[in-house]
């Protein structure tokens, strides 16, 4: 068996020949450089500080086919369960990394240009070249380099100045690994113009059979112009036989507001990087995360709030509930650069371990190079509070009910940050059901 790294490098050549006229473009030059870098770096191992607790070796040793070289045939019925009911949304569907026009529905027509990235490379060349790979720095990040090399498709969303797009954009990625274990890359570029507003939902759904597993590598670059507002919700409720390595790289101009919520409910190995550079005065970023996992799921969230200029705010709260042999990893970095006076940066990571075999590794990292700043961080991990449990039981609730109620409330502090109501309600009901079953 050829190892995955070699397989991807040779797969790149095949994909490249299919690019025809685009093989000489500046974008493709970046892809080639990124591939070269990936070849040099190889997949990260636990010796790498950023991957200390997340061992990808068992993930990458599977026999994957490169998704871009597959041609699965999915129907609307296949993806129906992955859609958000009761939401009028733009839905962009990617199957094994390739855009499916048949399965997608685009309803917003004013104030936004939305198309697959493959099309944007041709139609929006200048804008793409201006932003692509400018925020997601792949030079020292193997997985990002890999994603950049295979950045052939994904979503392109450009919201015009001042436009408020009511309908959310649901970016739906299906990894169809039923025939063969599949590596599916995808890359998004989202540009929100000055004073514009938009909402994005990302979800990955893996289809498997037998011993197959799917690996999805999804990176989004988000650009927020002055005073733009973007809500970004990432929903991870995938099968156990799925692995995910992805990143969000946001660039925020003055007074822009980014609200991100990452909810992980199941999966195999899940790694989320989330970086926001606060590049314009008084930009505001919110990172919220919930991981409620059991079995052998590993969820690793690495975040970076990078304060580059003065008067910006970052507010971060990640919460975890882990059962069985689940593992949580949280690494939250706050960077305050020398010019970033009057920074307000808050970070908190709170965990509840429901089983003695569940573990969590949490590490705050503060790098502060300005003196007039307010930063705070804190992390806790432990069991449910006995006082609260007793209080509820003393009113007649049994132990399981009381625990479910407290855990639901614990999780609710994150789900309440989802402003897209039908999505929030759906997640809350999944969580309620899960807690109910878990505790019986």
């Amino acid at each position: 068996m050829q190892d995955l790294q070699e397989k991807l490098i040779s797969g790149f050549q095949t994909v490249e020949t299919a690019l025809n006229g685009q093989a000489q473009t500046p974008i493709h030059v970046i892809r080639k450089q990124a591939l070269k870098r990936f070849a040099e770096l190889g997949f990260p191992t636990i010796r790498h500080e950023e991957w200390k607790y997340t061992n990808l070796m068992s993930v990458v040793k599977q026999d994957y086919v490169l998704g871009l070289q597959t041609a699965p045939n999915l129907t609307k019925t296949d993806i129906e369960p992955f859609l958000m009911p009761d939401v009028e949304a733009n839905v962009l569907v990617f199957v094994n990394g390739t855009y499916s026009a048949d399965l997608s529905t685009i309803i917003s027509d004013k104030g936004v240009e939305v198309m697959p990235l493959s099309e944007a490379f041709k139609k929006k060349t200048a804008t793409v070249e201006k932003h692509f790979a400018q925020y997601a720095a792949w030079q020292n990040d193997a997985m990002l380099a890999l994603n950049t090399a295979f950045a052939l498709n994904g979503a392109y969303i450009e919201v015009a100045k001042g436009a408020v797009i009511e309908e959310p954009f649901h970016l739906l990625y299906v990894n169809d690994s039923r025939k063969q274990s599949t590596f599916a890359p995808a890359r998004n570029l989202v540009i929100v113009g000055a004073n514009a507003e938009a909402t994005i939902v990302e979800s990955v759904h893996t289809l498997v059979s037998g011993a197959n597993v799917g690996l999805t590598n999804l990176v989004s670059e988000l650009v927020l112009a002055d005073n733009a507002k973007l809500s970004h919700y990432k929903v991870q409720n995938d099968v156990e036989q799925s692995h995910f390595v992805g990143a969000i790289h946001a660039h925020q101009e003055a007074t822009s507001v980014l609200n991100t919520v990452v909810v992980t409910l199941s999966g195999g190995v899940v790694r989320n990087n989330l970086n926001a550079v606060l590049a314009g005065k008084a930009a505001d970023t919110h990172f919220y995360g919930l991981y409620l996992v059991n079995g052998k799921t590993l969820v690793d969230n690495h975040t970076l709030a990078d304060h580059a200029v003065a008067h910006c705010t970052s507010n971060e709260l990640y919460k975890g509930i882990m059962d069985d042999k689940a593992t949580g990893v949280f690494n939250g970095k706050i960077m305050v650069r020398p010019d970033a006076q009057k920074t307000l940066a808050y970070q908190s990571n709170r965990n509840i371990l429901l089983s003695p075999n569940a573990t969590v590794n949490t590490k705050p990292q503060l790098e502060i190079f300005a003196d007039d700043v307010k930063c705070s961080h804190g992390c806790t991990s432990g069991q449910l509070d006995d006082e609260s449990l007793f209080y509820l039981r003393a009113r007649g609730l049994d132990k399981e009910q009381a625990r479910a109620l407290l855990l639901y409330a614990f999780a609710g502090e994150i789900t309440e940050k989802i402003e897209l109501e039908p999505l929030r309600e759906r997640l809350e009901s999944i969580i309620a059901e899960r807690l109910h079953q878990e505790l019986l």
Binding site: D385, F390, Y391, R393, A394, R395, G396, D398, Q401, L405
Partner: protein, 254 residues
């Protein structure tokens, strides 16, 4: 209703209750007074089933059941209610949902169907009026951000909703101003019946002007050192707790 016989309890190896004997009949109000650290809250907690305490001796019979054998939720469903000295804040759990779950558990235990939403709301409204709670408070998370007085009122509101047989009020008066004290006392008095009993734990006599006890007991260093009628409370107020300490010494035969 309740018979406590030679009850002994300790925490972390330290003996706190050193043989409590107390019998409470139906329809009676008993006040338990005593200096801080006497073991009043410990007694209340042991009766409600808090698991931090180790029962090292004695027994408690509640309405024919061995109370100490029951889980906290079974006790609650059987009709034991503890109004906590320090009610816990439970962020994210709304008062209404919490009470709905609690009320329906108690009903289930009594062989009744869950309440219809409308009937439940009506009951809420009625009981809210009793302790002068407003809708905003009831809609909030349990005790979250409540003032000391609001927390105590919320305890009595919950008591009203759950209709217990035996209520134990642990220093419900502390932290209340006189108006709030009257509201709380008034609520308790209205909920009184020939079928229900109340234990009022208090440090001060003041509350007993409003909730008039049938019996007063003085707890000191884990023992009931004196019992009497309501006039004992006044005597305590006048003579202070030093008098109790002397009583305890006398009893120990020093």
């Amino acid at each position: 209703m309740l018979t406590i016989t030679n009850l002994q309890a300790s925490v972390e190896g330290k003996e706190i209750l050193k043989g409590i004997n107390l019998t409470i009949g139906k329809g009676e109000i008993h006040a338990i007074m005593g200096p801080n650290g006497s073991g009043k809250s410990t007694l209340a907690s042991v009766l409600a089933g808090r698991e931090d305490y180790e029962i090292t001796g004695g027994s408690v019979n509640f309405d024919g059941h061995d109370l100490l054998e029951m889980s906290p939720e079974e006790r609650a469903r059987e009709g034991v209610f503890l109004a906590f000295q320090y009610p816990v804040e439970v962020p994210g759990v709304s008062n209404t949902n919490f009470l709905k779950a609690a009320v329906n558990e108690v009903r289930k235990h009594r062989g009744l169907d869950p309440m219809e939403p409308k009937a439940f709301l009506n009951m809420m409204r009625e009981k809210m009026a009793l302790v002068e709670m407003d809708q905003a408070m009831v809609s909030r998370s349990v005790n979250e951000g409540f003032s000391g007085g609001e927390k105590k009122r919320n305890e009595i509101f919950q008591m009203a909703m759950l209709e217990p047989k035996l209520s134990i009020l642990d220093e419900t008066d502390s932290g209340l101003d006189i108006d709030a004290l009257k509201i709380v006392a008034n609520g308790v008095n209205k909920l009184r019946s020939k079928e229900t009993s109340t234990i009022v734990i208090t440090h001060y006599q003041r509350l007993l002007d409003y909730i008039v006890p049938d019996f007063v007991h003085v707890l000191y260093k884990g023992r009931i050192v004196k019992s009497g009628g309501k006039e004992l409370a006044l005597e305590l107020e006048a003579k202070g707790y030093d008098w109790v300490k002397e009583l305890a010494l006398e009893e120990a035969g020093v």
